[in-house]
Subunit: 176 residues, 2 copies
DNA sequence: CATATATATAGCGGCGATGTATATCGGGGC
DNA sequence: GCCCCGATATACATCGCCGCTATATATATG
C-alpha cells in the first residue's frame, strides 16, 4: 500500500494540506494500521499533481508560508478505487518487543518484567485513545476499524497478563 | 529493529547461512512479527563481519557455491544484549485490508464481501500454521510468542465474523 | 520444468532527522 | 501586573540511509 494511494484515500474524505494529512494519522481512528511521514507525503503529492490525480490551490496567508490545499480529481478517484480492486498487499506486523521476548533468557529477569510492564502500558494507552470520545468514529467504516483495533489490543493485553509468568519465571519443563 | 540486530538474535540460536536465516522467518513460529529479505540480510552479514560481530567460515561444496556459515562472536553476543536493553522501537501494524475497509462505501458490495472472505481465509491459514506440529515451539520464549500470535489471529477472525455485516450492509443509522 | 540451495546487487520507495519561518500560549521573573 | 522566553503548533521541504522487490547466476533434484 504505497503512500500515493493512502493520500488519495484521505483526500476522498475532503481537501487537505500535506500537514493535515499527516495529522490524520495521529488523531483519527485509523492511525493504527496505516502511516506515512512527511518525507514520503510531500513527494507523493507532487507526483500525484503531475499525474493529474490531485489538484492544488495555494492559499496565501499573512506572514506564513502558503497553504497548499490538495483536492482529489475525478481521475484520482477512479485510480484510487482501481487500486483497491487490485489484490491488496499483505498485512505486516513488526514487533521488536515480541522479538525480544524470544530472547528473554538472555536478559536480566528484572528487565524482562520492565519490558512487559512498559508494553502493557503502551497498549493500554492506545486502547484508551481508540475509545476516547473525541476520536469517536463518524462512518460505518471508521466504526468497524475502531472496533477492530480495540478487539486486537484487548486480546493482546489479556494474553500478556495471563501468560507473562511463563517467561518471567520459566520452569524446567518449559526448557524441554 | 534493524536487520543486523535480527540476524544477531538468530545466530545466538546457532550457526547459519544467510539463506537459512531467511528460511527461519518463513518456517518458524516467530515469522509473524519480524521479517527480512535477502536484499538486506546479505549486506547486514557483511557489515557484521567487518565489525567483528560475527565470523564466517566458507564450507566448500562440490559443484555448488560455497556455503558461508556465520557464527556469532562474543562481541556480537554482547552487542545483541545491549541493543535489547535500549528502548525498543514501537510496533508497526500495517494493514492495507483495514485501510480498504475505511472506503468500503466506494466499492461494489460484492467486492467488499470477497475481500473479507479472502482476508479471513488468510488469517485461518496463518493460525493453522502457528498450530502445526512441525512448527511446535522449543523454548519458553517460542511458546509464549506462538501463543501470542494465536491469540491475536483468533480475536481478529472472531471480530471479522461478528462485525462484517456492519460494512456489508450499512444501516442508515450507521451513516449518521 | 518447477522448486530448492546459495549468494549477490541494482533500483526504488519510504522513514527519520533536520532545516526554515512564523504564531500563539502559558508560566516564571521582576 | 506585565513582559519575555520557551514550548508547541502550523506549514513546507529535502537529504541520507535503510530495506524491500526484482533480477541474475549456478546447480541439483523431483
Amino acid at each position: 500500500m504505497d503512500v500515493r494511494t493512502i493520500c488519495l484515500g484521505i483526500l476522498t474524505r475532503g481537501d487537505a494540506t500535506g500537514y493535515e494529512i499527516k495529522k490524520l494519522f495521529e488523531t483519527d481512528g485509523y492511525q493504527h494500521f496505516v502511516e506515512a511521514s512527511f518525507g514520503s507525503i510531500y513527494p507523493a503529492l507532487n507526483r500525484l499533481t503531475e499525474e493529474g490525480m490531485v489538484s492544488v490551490r495555494a492559499e496565501a496567508q499573512e506572514k506564513r508560508p502558503d497553504r497548499k490545499v490538495y483536492s482529489i480529481t475525478p481521475a484520482g478517484r477512479k485510480a484510487f478505487v482501481t487500486s483497491l480492486m487490485k489484490p491488496l498487499p499483505e498485512d505486516k506486523h513488526r514487533s521488536p518487543f515480541i522479538f525480544a521476548m524470544l530472547f528473554s533468557h538472555l536478559l536480566p529477569p528484572d528487565h524482562v518484567s520492565a519490558l512487559i510492564d512498559t508494553y502493557i502500558s503502551l497498549g493500554e494507552a492506545k486502547l484508551a485513545q481508540l475509545s476516547a470520545p473525541e476520536n469517536a468514529p463518524h462512518t460505518a467504516g471508521e466504526r468497524f476499524v475502531t472496533g477492530y483495533g480495540r478487539a486486537i489490543y484487548l486480546s493482546m493485553l489479556n494474553y500478556l497478563r495471563i501468560h507473562r509468568a511463563e517467561i518471567e519465571h520459566p520452569t524446567v519443563e518449559a526448557a524441554e
